[in-house]
């Protein structure tokens, strides 16, 4: 595989490991991690640090509470874990694309492809009520009109190559644009499949701000 040039920020990797990104962004970052040994290893480091730190301190639990919970657990039935079916590929217009597992687990949720002008296809991937994520396929010589978005946009190249006025992006490249950046993606003589996430300004749920701070010194130097 070619070398990946563009990676998620450490802030995003921390949010991924702590569970504080929303589901859609979790899938985009997780799929990049599947494709990128470098970020896989950083994410593992972050997770280890986080585990050690978060489980360092003991709460003084009352002995009777502990004992009764312990008995209860050892008498319990095994919980049923529903596991998602992992698809290995998606197909469009007779073409079949292999997808990493972090995306393959959600292929059952993929909506129908719709054809858009300019050599583009789009299929929505809905993970929850407010997620906005699409697979976007650009055929050769396609272009997306220049656009701005009220909010941030994360794009992951799954297969192929596209470029905008800033750079060229290939398999595994992760591009994060905030609301102030514009760009006009296009393809030339190769087609491209991307996973694209759109959001209102990047929002983290409550826990992250707290989780982030101690890491700042470690990772954001």
């Amino acid at each position: 595989m070619n070398k990946i040039k563009f990676h998620p920020s450490e802030e995003l990797l921390v949010g991924y490991a702590s569970g504080d990104l929303n589901p859609a962004l979790t899938v985009v970052v997780g799929t990049h991690i599947d494709m990128c040994p470098r970020c896989r290893s950083v994410a593992e480091d972050i997770q280890n640090h986080m585990a050690t730190r978060e489980l360092h301190q003991s709460a003084p639990l009352a002995e009777p509470d502990l004992n009764s919970m312990l008995e209860h657990i050892m008498a319990s039935e095994s919980p049923i874990v529903r596991s998602a079916k992992v698809h290995e590929q998606v197909s469009l217009e007779g073409k079949v694309f292999k997808v990493p597992r972090s995306l393959g687990r959600h292929v059952d949720r993929l909506g129908p492809w719709s054809h858009m002008p300019g050599g583009l296809w789009r299929a929505p991937l809905e993970l929850d009520a407010d997620s906005r994520m699409n697979l976007i396929y650009m055929q050769e010589n396609a272009s997306l009109p220049e656009h701005t978005h009220r909010g941030s946009e994360a794009t992951l190249v799954l297969n192929g190559v596209f470029n905008d006025e800033h750079d060229e992006y290939r398999d595994g490249d992760f591009i994060f644009l905030d609301e102030h950046k514009h760009h006009s993606p296009q393809t030339t003589d190769e087609d491209c499949l991307t996973l694209a996430y759109l959001d209102a300004p990047l929002q983290f749920t409550s826990g992250l701000a707290r989780l982030l701070n101690p890491f700042s010194s470690l990772f954001f130097r």
């Binding site: 569970g19 997770q47 050690t52 489980l55 639990l61 502990l66 312990l70 992992v86």
Partner: protein, 208 residues
């Protein structure tokens, strides 16, 4: 004299029990998990529980600020440890990290439970920790990049029937290997080996 000895003994045992948390190495914790997995050892689980429950409680209280929700997280996390210890593997990380990821997932689901719909994705779908996913040997299964069906075209018709049917269902109908296994009533391993053989053959045919 007798009394003094007793006293010394009890002091020693006291200080060693206080030191114990620091001596819980990853190896020792991993050993306990293995005992729970292999022999359902209640003693090993009790030791794990006494180590982790108060830590999870502290973590969860900081997260939720609510005693009852925190206790729910502790109980749910440790219930999974008791029943799913066989899913821990030391190659993938330390016992503390493994248990943290279980708790992280439970926290994620608790935080979303009230405001979201039934069909929403669960933490286990995002970070599988407890599902026993069949791990496909992705690399040998995949063609190098994307496959143009036009390119495969008539070549696949030259495959032996058993392989051709598998290739049709996977690459044309878009089924997963598991679905093909179910549809044809053959083991998953057979589907995989037929796919692999078929792809080898196709590569040869195309490059000829």
């Amino acid at each position: 004299m007798q009394v003094m000895l007793e006293k010394r003994k009890s002091r020693q045992s006291m200080s060693s029990s206080q030191r114990e948390p620091q001596e819980m190495t990853a190896e020792h914790l991993g050993q306990l998990l293995a005992e729970v997995a292999d022999t359902r050892s209640r003693r090993a689980f009790s030791e794990l529980f006494r180590h982790f429950a108060p830590r999870l409680q502290s973590f969860a209280t900081r997260q939720f600020g609510n005693e009852q929700t925190a206790m729910d997280l502790v109980q749910e996390t440790m219930t999974n440890v008791w029943h799913k210890a066989h899913l821990f593997s030391p190659e993938k990380g330390s016992p503390t990290t493994w248990i943290f990821t279980i708790a992280r997932n439970i926290r994620f689901d608790i935080l979303r439970k009230n405001k979201h719909r039934q069909n929403d994705v669960s933490a286990e779908d995002l970070w599988p920790v407890l599902s026993e996913e069949t791990s496909d040997s992705d690399e040998e299964f995949a063609l190098d990049t994307k496959i143009l069906m036009q390119e495969i075209g008539e070549y696949y018709l030259q495959l032996p029937d058993a392989q051709r049917i598998v290739v049709e269902q996977i690459y044309i109908e878009g089924k997963s290997q598991q679905e093909v296994s179910d549809a044809l009533g053959i083991p998953l391993g057979t589907v995989k080996s037929r796919t692999r053989l078929a792809l080898q053959k196709l590569r040869e045919l195309i490059s000829e």
